[in-house]
Amino acid sequence: MTADRRYPLLLAGLGLLAALLFLASLGIGQVWIDPLTLVAAFRDTQSAEALILAEIRLPRALLGAGIGAILGLSGAVLQGFLRNPLAEPGLLGISASASLGAVIAIYAGLTALHPYALPLCALAGALVAVTLVQMLVGRSGDILVIILAGVALSSLAGALTSLALNLAPSPFAALEIVFWMLGSLTDRSLVHVGLALPFILVGGVMLALTGRALDALALGPDVARSLGVNLDRTRVLAVVGTAIGVGGATAVSGAIGFVGLIVPHLLRPLVGHRPSRLLPASALGGAAFLLAADIAVRVVMPERDLKLGVVTAILGAPFFLWLLVSLRRRTA
């Protein structure tokens, strides 16, 4: 069967998988809610199960799906745009800068003043990072400059985060910072959903608009331009879309690594390696992956608050190594 005919089936399969994991995410946790009770809870909104669903499970599942989708989508766009299979949202320094914003909010005690303080500071961090990247890159649009600027920003944000830890007013503040940075969806409410989702949607639309340009870029920037692609517009959509979408996601979940790297990679051969087709597939795949990982942290160690970012990194880092080895084997 060719990639053409397989593609709609793949999208349907990934969509179904994400939907099932979404439902499972509603049911699984300290209190297990079986499917029948789940349906009943929708009718009787006063029951204990309904309360758990609305207050705890639904925000968590919505955030898992939305954040996973934007991480997968942004990874696919950045890999296509930078024509580098090792690119991911963290590469541009956006995750690290968003984390720094959040850490500053915790450090300065702003979190006690207003519940929105932390996510808004994280978002501001992401937007500062993307502005700096855009300024450094300028009109040249040089890919190497984008990558190096991202690496430099990541290091700087990481160093400043360490400084905040170093100078933390109390061990509790330091612990709060560390825990937040690990990345998690625990104890998030619909307020968080309302905060993150608009950014995820806006960023997602911007990223989705790059599909055609990414296809053309497979032939290199000169041919892409000769095919009528506006590379400046594509760069702004890819970089600013990532900042808004992933910035909004990081603002409520903390930095969750490797999803944006792994998911596009696993799916690329299944879509015939075409960058534009990879975008919807990676969004659905990312949602499924993060929902599954978030279910895993509840099932594997229910009594401990295992952090989601830890699990994705434990799965992701070995995958990254395998990727490097297999890339080397292919080029050797």
Partner: protein, 265 residues
Amino acid sequence: MIRLDCESVAVRRGARETLRGVSFSCERPQLVGVIGPNGAGKSTLMRAMTGLQPHAGSLRWQGRELAAMPPGERARLIAYMPQERTVHWPMDCIEVVLLGRLPHRGGFGGASADDLRQAREAMERMDVIGFARRPFDTLSGGEQARVLIARMLAQAPHACIADEPVNGLDPAHQIALMQVLAELVAEGRPVFVSLHDLTLASRWCDRLLLLDRGCLVADGAPGEVLNAERLAGVYGIRAEHIDIGGRPSVVPSDLIAGEDHVEPH
């Protein structure tokens, strides 16, 4: 009929001028060979003619300034094939060729039946239809070049600009490619092709533009352009002049001693 007018086109890269005051016009469909030694400015001129290279002076297609033309319209007018032949992802060859249809497609639509037909026709013409479902990276260099030329043809342009398309092709496919380019001209499209092979250039091209250190030093029929004096002056070589099928052709023979045209390695 497509018309191209270049007037005093100049390109400066840092302190170096890679093109200096290049002026010529092309009023009728011709197979135009762009020749010259390494670093003469061939690729820069071809990029400028495609609208990829900022330049001084004026470059007009159909009397309209290229720099002011909307990118989509430009893409339906001119197809370009660069010297580098990379495809960054191991896509099937048919997918690579279909990329040539992008300027003819709406915002989100996939390839239409017509797109597919045109892509297949282009692949048949370049003798690569058998590779349609093979990943691009499994092909040999010459096969890849032919797939990329099919990609250019699938764009259904009114003019073609190809930078050293015969590099790495075996003699049979070099001749086949020059034949296809000549066919495109016969169908009414001007084709600009940069070449290092002076024999192919003189045998196939209707007209040659000879560049040397950024200047257009000769413009005319191959027999006029490639005279012994210019070959000595620009390339520092001697050549045999022979007759192939009624066309005067040039076969480079040896270096002219004492001339320091070849850069030391």
